[in-house]
Amino acid sequence: MPNFDGGHYFLTALLPIGSPGGFVDDDGALTSPVHLVRNALSVLPKARQSPSSDAHGLNSPFARSTRTHFARFVVIDDVAFNGRVPLNALRVAIDRARRDPRIHGPCDQLSSPYLLFSADFDAASGDEAELRAYLVELWHAMELELRSVLRHCHDFGRVTDADGFAAYVTQGQIETTMPFNDYWADGAPFLPKPAAKPDPGSIPWGPLGGVIAVILLAPLAMAWTNFLLESHPWWSGVLKGLIGLAAALALLALSVPLLARVDDAPSGEKVLTLAAAIVVAAMLYIAHQTSMALGGGDRAPAGIVNGLASLFAGVAVVGVAIAAVVAVLLRFVVRRSTVPFPAAPDSDLPAILKALYLQQRFQDFAIAAQGQGDGALHAAFGRFLADHKPGDLARPTQDPGVVRS
């Protein structure tokens, strides 16, 4: 669940911009809604992170939230058109009717402009309740500014309170597929363990019964064939092989739903591995039966067939073994990689602000203390600790939204 990682929630929401008539009456001027959204964004104060933004003294309204690490509004006018889908010249030559290069390819467009809102904030989990709580808090901290930006988003008129705002944003939420945070100073823990084992779910008796039936019935069918066609040893072997193959396919078909239930998610690798194992087993059986039918190893053609069958079987067994090991490792890594990293130590916003504050104060202290004797240095550091209280996250500290204090 990439929406949540390392103790931070990464919200991405796409909110359509627009009004019923396609325009807004802005004090008598008929104006495009997206124009007004951009206008609202351009007058929203930025965080005090550069000499020019520092000079006017206003701070970003997001700085009123002590949970928000980063927040962004972006207007997306449309999807970028990357040109037509490239065609393979050979396939065009073969199938000109369906791939005629003289006919325009599709060109996707958005039905309206969108406002992208993304924020990453301190959260205890990736639960929807955490998101809702943050959005409610944000509404109370900056309702006026949020209204100024969002009021030309589609259907925003129905938002009347904090809960309505939370519901509105959540409705436009899309999954954040690549969150980024970098607060593990000495490297994050490698492949964290899942909090709990996945629930295996109830046992699917239907497919399970089918599997057992096939395993029992297949040898019976073969024995019966043997008995019935004893006078035609040559092709009775082949027939038995075909019965074996049919049984294998039946096993495979029945096993897929079974495996899907046993694991926490239908694992493609696992299904393929099992399928390969069953097919190889069937082929081994066919090879064995064929060579038996040809009369063992005492005749030349049979010897060749025997040899080839052994080689074939050997390669197949090794291949299946490697595939099985790779599948198991892959499944392990894929499963572990979906587990969120735990929160890095001291990585919530108040701790980071305090760290930035202390870093600057300690630099001043180090410069002032150069060349001091042990006694003076000890006393000065005592004053440093008393003045700046490294253990107290609340104060003194750096204001949110400010690059230096």
């Binding site: 000499p51 630099q363 180090a366 410069i367 150069q370 060349g371």
Partner: protein
């Protein structure tokens, strides 16, 4: 197979500095006569033709890159030109090329920063506060006359320590030529009509003047020279070139310093049409840098007391050490990476002197039998070998900057192998090199105040001012992130912008000594003006003068 450079087509002073036999410089800036729209199409055409006629008269004088008889080591081509008393080179700003009537299709594809000009790039270059264009010399202050063209002259020195009389004669000729063609000199260079410059001169006991390779803070200057293809500088490649993946030194690509040739990205650099206009030409940043010699000396003296107290050395030693740590070289040019302590520096010079004595033995051999080319080559290679430790060093030997601080001047402007986290190549440095061709100006007597005229006329030649000159200025001189030093700027050239500017001198943690932080650094170097120029080839000068620049 590399091709020989067309030396007769390239302006002089680019491939190599004119060197110690031309210790005098004069930089003259010209505004072409212009007609306003109100004066009519005919007047505009006449003004443009006068400007072209001026270029036509100038181009006969221009000194090319052809070789003449000199002591210069390692120069391409055979001796084929007469050594002039005064060299003569020409360059244009964007506004100059516009006044000369170049077609729009050509002008619009010139680089953005060149079109902007230096004053408009102030925020990129860190020209704010005391460096701001509003405080530049009259000639460069925005709103004044426009600089269209530049004539750069270098002159030999007379016995009196001044320039040879030919410099005045050439200046008089140029002033007359400008008057004839309706052009004016852009005056106001610290009160002078043009910018004069001169190597610092020291007189021996007999009063004979000798030019010194030094600048006003007392540092030996111009030691590390870029070595590039076609320059004929094989012996300077070790230390002056680039370091490849196998750890070997190779010459830089020619296209980094001369347009129309492949560059370090193995492409031809972007160029305005027609190709012949840009080929064998180069861009140049002219920058007048005032040096606050008093502030520098006072700051070093005061900080040396604190450094001496913290490190247990004498204040004289502390002064030497502080200056060396700021630059990355001792004042005499010995690199800190090769000689981190004062004792190492003495040993360094002993090795150098022994190497030079070895080389000199081959000189006498060569004088005894002048026809013997082998002994001359042996002398050259031994001499280069003796000089090599001044330039042939790598920062991988000093990864934490305990010898040469991470933010020392030379470690910023030529990062060598320091930025390659994976190996030891100079790959992140190869596209950021510039050719420095400058001279000090004015005199800083020991009792000089900051108001005096003394500093460096700094010229940087490169294929892209944006990628090379401006990048070094913005990211490496006025910022420290590439060196893990946050906002810290260059201790010598960095702009201070009202912050508590600091400079960290790291120590080896194993030594138990604390690092030393130089704090509250005042502004040591201030920008007094400058602009961006295009230095055309002889072919391009002819096309410009004849009005045949055809981009179609």
């Amino acid at each position: 197979m590399s091709r020989n450079l067309d030396l007769a087509d390239i302006q002089g002073g680019i491939l190599r500095d004119y060197g110690e036999s031309y210790p005098k410089g004069r930089y003259i800036f010209i505004q072409f006569g212009q007609a306003s729209d109100g004066e009519g199409v005919e007047a505009i055409r006449r003004a443009r033709d006068e400007a072209r006629a001026l270029v036509q008269a100038l181009r006969a004088k221009v000194t090319s890159a052809l070789r003449w008889e000199s002591k210069a080591h390692q120069y391409p081509g055979d001796v084929s030109a007469q050594k002039p008393k005064v060299t003569f080179n020409v360059a244009f700003t964007f506004r100059g090329l516009h006044a000369l009537g170049l077609p729009v299709r050509t002008l619009q594809r010139l680089p953005d920063e060149f079109i902007d000009g230096m004053a408009a790039r102030a925020s990129v270059l860190g020209d704010v506060g005391p460096n701001a264009p509003g405080r530049w010399d009259d000639a460069w202050r925005p709103g004044g006359p426009e600089v269209h063209g530049a004539v750069f002259m270098r002159a030999q020195m007379g016995n009196d320590g001044g320039a040879v009389p030919e410099l005045e004669a050439e200046t008089g000729w140029l002033v007359g030529l400008c008057r004839k063609h309706g052009a004016t000199l852009v005056e106001g260079h610290g009160g002078a009509p043009y910018q004069d410059a001169s190597a610092l001169i020291e007189r021996d006991a007999a009063g004979v003047p000798h030019p010194q390779a030094k600048e006003h803070f007392g540092f030996r200057d111009g030691i590390s020279e870029v070595a590039f293809q076609g320059q004929g500088a094989d012996l300077r490649v070790d230390g002056g070139g680039k370091i490849d993946g196998s750890g070997a030194w190779l010459p830089h690509a020619l296209g980094e310093f001369l347009l129309g040739h492949p560059d370090e990205s193995q492409e031809l650099p972007p160029s305005a049409p027609p190709a012949a206009l840009m080929r064998n030409g180069v861009f140049m940043a002219y920058r007048k840098l005032h040096q606050n010699v008093k502030a520098f000396n006072d700051y070093v003296a005061e900080t040396a007391r604190a450094y001496a107290a913290a490190n247990g050395c004498t204040t004289d030693e502390a002064r030497e050490i502080l200056k060396a740590k700021m630059v990355g070289r001792w004042q005499d040019g010995v690199p800190l990476v090769a000689a981190p302590t004062l004792a190492d520096r003495r040993a360094f010079w002993d090795r150098f002197n022994a190497g030079m004595a070895d080389a000199e033995a081959w000189t006498s051999e060569a004088e005894a039998s002048p026809a013997d080319a082998g002994s001359q080559a042996a002398y050259e290679s031994r001499r280069a070998e003796a000089w090599r430790p001044f330039v042939d060093f790598r920062y991988r030997d000093d990864p934490d900057g305990t010898h040469c601080p991470m933010t020392a001047h030379i470690r910023r402007v030529n990062t060598r192998d320091a930025l390659d986290a994976q190996g030891n190549t100079s790959i992140l440095n190869n596209r950021r090199r510039i050719l420095r061709r400058g001279l000090p100006y004015g005199a800083a007597e020991p009792d000089a105040t900051e108001e005096g005229e003394h500093g460096v006329v700094f010229l940087a030649y490169c294929a892209s001012l944006f990628r090379q000159f401006e990048f070094i200025q913005q990211q490496w001189l006025n910022y420290g992130l590439d060196f893990n030093a946050g906002n810290d700027g260059c201790p010598i050239l960095g702009n201070r912008q009202g912050d508590n500017a600091k400079f960290v001198i790291a120590t080896d943690p194993a030594s138990g000594a604390a690092p030393f932080i130089c704090a509250n650094m005042p502004q040591f170097v201030e920008t007094r003006g400058g602009d961006y120029f295009f230095v055309p080839s002889m072919t391009a000068l002819r096309m410009i003068a004849m009005g045949t620049v055809d981009p179609t």
